[in-house]
Symmetry: C2
Subunit: 197 residues, 2 copies
């Protein structure tokens, strides 16, 4: 069972350039986690309803990333970047559903073809603008994240690596809904009990 | 201790739009994980040395994402997308270092201002091209990932959300090294025992 949970029935179609050799024995069991909370993201959004569903719809909304002191030194050199990726745990999202009606459409889609939060691993990904750093705190703008969300990682946004402006975007190119803020379809009920929009 | 590991000494500088109210009691302890391996990424790269350090330097390199059957239905509707984000656990990277000399430079930088794999949570992020789907397998190209890497998530690449081609990129704009493939500075020694380049 080398290939994670794919199981015996999962076809592994190999192309010419893929490796076929056996792997080292120690790698037969996946080594993942545990996750470490390295800070919290502070934002104006206490509940999903009304929260922007993407940073593109959150222009100017300010927030801050308050880092654990043990990792704050790793913020050095970020000031020169206009944007960073925040990776975080969407701790108030509902459980995984393989098919969802996304905010931007009116019909069901495969979950991996959407940015909906009810993922097998609810890891959120948001590109936000860097405003300034102050010690352990990174002030940011364009936030679409719920307040008090646990932070997992910060990566610099590098256009050479990350920007593909002409990339085809499937159903998003003719999506059936112009919604820009969340409702509560993907979150636990209640004003406080919600997750990433 | 509401703000993760930030501790009493971490200043929380609030801007006008941030929430200051207390949160619900149940949220004082971070709720993260556990992570779930949802598949494996198959690539030509067994060791870090020589592996492209970014997908931008891996044009045409083919790989496949073999998904657990329990989540494979969530691949529906991905065919219309030219690219997807893969999120994965860089299980062969060395432990977190707050400052590193990145592949693309000759001087130390704060880890969060780099894409180096020795992160507090070694979650890799790669934008790859979609070639085709075949059942539980998503064939992709432009892979910069080590073979047999545990998959955590797939998200569609949406230019409206993800493409910021003019975003300032700090030290990358005048970086001191033109390196495009990895060496073994961020990985366990040995040909097999390595992680994301």
């Amino acid at each position: 069972m080398r290939r994670g949970g794919a199981g015996a029935a999962a076809p592994v179609v190999m192309t010419g350039r893929e490796r076929t050799e056996p792997r080292v024995k120690g790698r037969e069991k996946p080594q993942v986690g545990p996750l470490r909370v390295i800070g919290r993201i502070r934002t104006p959004f206490v509940g999903a309803r009304g929260t922007p569903i993407q940073t593109a719809y959150a222009r100017g909304v300010e927030g801050s990333v308050v880092l654990d002191e043990a990792v704050a030194g790793a913020l050095d050199d970020l000031e020169g970047f206009e944007r960073v990726w925040l990776l975080y745990w969407m701790d108030r999202a509902v459980a995984f559903r393989p098919r969802v009606v996304p905010y931007r459409d009116t019909r069901e889609r495969g979950l991996f073809a959407t940015r909906s939060p009810c993922r097998p691993n609810p890891i959120g990904l948001s590109v936000v603008r860097v405003v300034r750093r102050s010690g352990c705190v990174l002030h940011v703008a364009d936030v679409d994240i719920l307040d008090d969300t646990p932070l997992l990682d910060i990566k610099p946004y590098v256009p050479e690596f990350d920007a593909h402006p002409a990339s085809r975007a499937g159903w998003f190119e003719a999506c059936g809904a112009d919604r820009r803020v969340a409702d509560d379809r993907f979150h636990e009920p209640g004003d406080e009990a919600s997750g990433k929009p």
